[in-house]
């Protein structure tokens, strides 16, 4: 395979969308004829039935796409909820949303004492939590999803275990939300916990 064909192959691999041949030529630093030759080389390489990928000409240009042969396996691998073990930050964030919902991100941050941005984004991307309107101050509110209930084997949010079992100070009367916020602020104020 020529060096130019190898470069074009890498470019098509990286592009999420079809690429116009002129853009390919410009990026690879070649002229249109050289690019056409490289694409012809790739066409031979990716002849139907030869590989798991195909070289396709579509409206926007050229693209690599998977052979339909792999469709079923792809669905088994990818079209299912992603459920890797939760990181501690994700578990904390998810617990706060589950018990206090709807809850805003600033509140989550105050309770945790550290920013919850990436954990919130991951939980949202995996479909465990979703937006639920805005607070009176304009912050996005979060709640858990039906997928969350299924993945935790819960019939409804009411079936969440009572916190009593893990509560370090079960005698306190105040509402869970107030107590969490107060504990978070105390942790943030204590330099030894920083």
């Amino acid at each position: 395979m020529s060096e130019l064909a190898r470069i074009v192959e890498a470019l098509l691999f990286l592009s999420p969308d079809p690429v116009a041949p002129s853009d390919l030529a410009q990026a690879a630093g070649c002229d249109d004829d050289e690019l056409a030759a490289a694409l012809a080389e790739l066409d031979r390489e990716y002849a139907p039935g030869a590989r798991g990928l195909q070289l396709k000409r579509v409206a926007g240009g050229v693209a690599l796409a998977t052979d339909p042969l792999a469709e079923e396996a792809a669905r088994r691998l990818l079209a299912k909820p992603r459920t890797p073990p939760l990181t501690p930050a994700q578990a904390e964030t998810l617990a706060i949303v589950a018990y206090l919902q709807p809850v805003s991100r600033p509140e989550i941050t105050r309770i945790r004492g550290v920013a919850a941005e990436s954990a919130t984004a991951t939980l949202e991307e995996r479909g465990f939590i979703e937006e639920a309107g805005r607070s009176q101050f304009g912050a996005i509110l979060y709640r858990t999803t039906d997928l969350f209930l299924r993945l935790f084997g819960l019939d409804s949010i009411k079936a969440l275990p009572s916190v009593v079992e893990w509560d370090p100070t079960p005698d306190e009367e105040a509402e869970l939300r107030d107590r969490l916020l107060r504990a978070g602020e105390q942790r943030a104020a204590d330099p030894s916990a920083a």
């Binding site: 691999f13 990286l14 916990a193």
Partner: protein
Amino acid sequence: MTVASLDLDLDVFSGPFDLLLTLVLREEIDLLEVQLAEIVIAYLDHLEQRDELDLEVATEFLVLIAALLELKSRLMLPREEEELLDFEPGEAAEELLARMLEARRYRRAAEHLSARLAGEEGIRYRSAPLPPALRRTNLADAGAVYAPARLGRAIGDLLRVPPRLNLEHLTSARVTVAERLTHLRSLLRRGACTFDEAVRGADRVTVAVTLFALLEMYKQGEATWTQPAPFGEIAIRPGASPPRHEAAAL
């Protein structure tokens, strides 16, 4: 300003104070070559220009300079002052050595990692959204893979406030310039005194802070001092200016 950004122009080093600390710890500057008195003078010059004393910053500076002094004195292993050190000289050198070796170990590991990252330069992975057909997940396929107890435990942990640590062994909060100013002023109200009297029974940090407070009083004209010979007794007398009202001075 913070102490960290104090600009220094020394014989062996020019730059901010925190960089000097780093370089000393990295052995890129030999602490033995740093005249610590120059740093103190640079700090006093800075105060002179500002014409005000931020007591919090001053205390931080004193703690840092005291740490450097301690490190330097350990490096020098002064035989005649052995009893002043908390460690046996050999022990102090071993502790310092262990810290330098540990720092060196991770500095080399860091070089290895940087080289590794550079070696992977130009290797890119694909990041593209899944084709639409693969994006829909079937809720019915989702089984219970997580334990709800994990969530309860996380909330319990978040309700926990760590016990207050005992910080008394740290020097930072033990003595402030303000306290030593008050102490010196009360001594001078009764007339002259010597520096030794002012710091009788005090630890090293307190001595350093007291000296600093004295410099400040000298600058304000509240006190004068004389020392006939190096390492001789320092005599302190009330100065020409009356003490400022304490509340205003602080």
